[in-house]
């Protein structure tokens, strides 16, 4: 399969890329690793006039802690997250998730930021961003904008990113107290898109839950933030009853459809079970952390 013909530019600097994007706007498509875009080009679901390859821009692949948040450069590949020794203790949900993303070959090229911007409702990172309350840093010729993940996803493959903007970084707030997260994914075979997946993240204050984030994958037109379920956790002791109620509410927030991967009713129930399991894992991890 060949993509439809397009022009290609590989700018040497971000400034150059932003100028080109400003000029071409909606005609252009930004490519980082290309692991979502190239399959879409080949199927001709996407036919941009210009592909702007930012994949080799310098100094955009760092993973570091800055002023209370974890900064992940837009060109950090899935494999960079997978093999980062610090993330295993700093933010284990990221390492949980990365193992579920496609396969090692795709992880060698694909990027976290690219995947989030692609906004596939079956994408794994979107739910994790929602659970962790992450933000995207978007640059354009008119400056820099901080976009919270909550609200970023507008519909399938649609985000609030403007045509002249490039995401340069993802920021994940570092917890103020003992915290833990988990990502559970049901897939038919290794590397498949999720039948259902659930990201949960909690922060404890004493014996109570101070913060809670729950993101749902592949059960709606976008990754879904299960707000009612989060509210049912915040300020409460994480008893089995509280956890079960949050799981029930998260299941209600899911809007899955019947398809080859399962019926809607089945998927809703998997959401419930995975919220339960995820919260138990997250609590266990949070309690291991020495505050």
């Amino acid at each position: 399969m060949f993509p439809a013909a397009f022009d290609y530019a590989a700018p040497a600097t971000l400034v150059e890329a932003l100028a080109l994007l400003k000029q071409r706007g909606d005609d252009a498509k930004i490519m980082a690793g290309g692991q979502s875009l190239i399959p879409m080009l080949k199927l001709r679901f996407a036919q941009p006039a210009l592909v702007i390859d930012i994949g080799r821009l310098p100094a955009m692949n760092g993973i570091a802690r800055h002023n209370g948040h974890l900064s992940i450069g837009a060109l950090a590949r899935h494999v960079d997250i997978e093999r980062n020794a610090d993330l295993a203790w700093l933010c284990p949900i990221l390492v949980d998730t990365v193992h579920w993303i496609s396969d090692p070959l795709v992880r060698n090229r694909g990027t976290m930021a690219g995947s989030v911007c692609h906004a596939d409702p079956s994408g794994d990172w979107g739910s994790v961003m929602l659970a962790l309350d992450a933000s995207l840093i978007a640059r354009s010729e008119s400056g820099e904008r901080v976009i919270p993940a909550d609200g970023f996803f507008q519909g399938p493959f649609t985000t609030t990113l403007r045509p002249d903007e490039i995401v340069t970084e993802i920021r994940i707030p570092m917890p103020g107290g003992p915290a833990g997260g988990a990502y559970n994914k049901l897939e038919r075979k290794v590397g498949d898109f999720a039948t259902v997946a659930v990201a949960v993240h909690i922060e404890l204050s004493g014996s109570k839950i101070a913060k809670a984030g729950i993101g749902l994958t592949a059960v709606g037109p976008t990754n879904i933030k299960a707000v009612a379920a989060e509210k049912a956790l915040i300020g409460h002791e994480p008893t089995e009853e509280v956890i079960a109620e949050a799981a029930r509410l998260a299941s209600e927030a899911a809007e899955p459809k019947d398809d080859i991967r399962g019926t809607a009713a089945y998927k809703k129930d998997i959401v419930r079970v995975y919220v339960l399991r995820g919260l138990r894992t997250a609590l266990g991890r949070a309690r291991e952390v020495k505050a």
């Binding site: 399969m1 060949f2 993509p3 439809a4 013909a5 397009f6 022009d7 290609y8 590989a10 290309g34 692991q35 190239i38 399959p39 080009l41 080949k42 592909v51 390859d53 994949g55 494999v79 496609s102 396969d103 090692p104 070959l105 795709v106 060698n108 090229r109 290794v190 590397g191």
Partner: protein, 170 residues
């Protein structure tokens, strides 16, 4: 568009449309047909090549993306007439039947051993999780990679020790 890359150690270049996939550049322009096209949808790994040392799917990369990079295909594995350890492993352990997935499996195996000299069963299975084989049931592929890992480790032993091991009648 002009592209150039080092393929199996030799400088190669071409004048291609940006939409040309790396696998087609390798097979059609360079005539290296050891890299296979299986699914053409980023699912099977038959088109695996190493770009700057990393295994990637050449059906899901544009040739222009790897301009200036180092590419290794299955043709670059053997040193002259001598088989590489990974090839010996697949030969000895019957790691292939039809052979269609083999170029990808071998490149994955070689890269894995370079990173993890003595990989476990599980590490090998995860490493090849993006590569589909419909013949072997994977058992012998895992054994082949382990065989190659042993050979590679032995080749790296100091000469004296190697001689002692050979003397031990392994």
């Amino acid at each position: 568009m002009k592209v150039s890359m080092r393929v199996n150690g030799a400088e190669k270049s071409g004048d291609i449309e940006p939409r040309v996939l790396l696998v087609d550049f390798i097979r059609t322009n360079l005539g290296l047909t050891g890299t296979h096209v299986g699914c053409d949808t980023s699912s099977c790994g038959a088109c695996t090549v190493l770009v700057n040392g990393d295994p990637v799917k050449s059906c899901t990369l544009l040739a222009v993306q790897v301009d200036g990079s180092e590419v290794k295909t299955i043709e670059g594995i053997a040193q002259g007439a001598a088989l590489a350890p990974i090839q010996v492993g697949f030969h000895e352990e019957h790691g292939l039947q039809c052979g269609f997935c083999t170029p990808g499996m071998m490149l994955i195996g070689e890269e894995l051993i370079s990173r993890i000299p003595n990989p476990t069963d599980e590490q090998i299975r995860w490493a090849i999780s993006g590569n589909i084989c419909r013949c072997t049931g994977y058992m012998n592929i895992v054994k082949a990679v382990q065989h190659a890992a042993k050979l590679t480790a032995t080749a790296k032993e100091p000469a004296g020790k190697e001689a002692a091991m050979a003397g031990g009648g392994e």
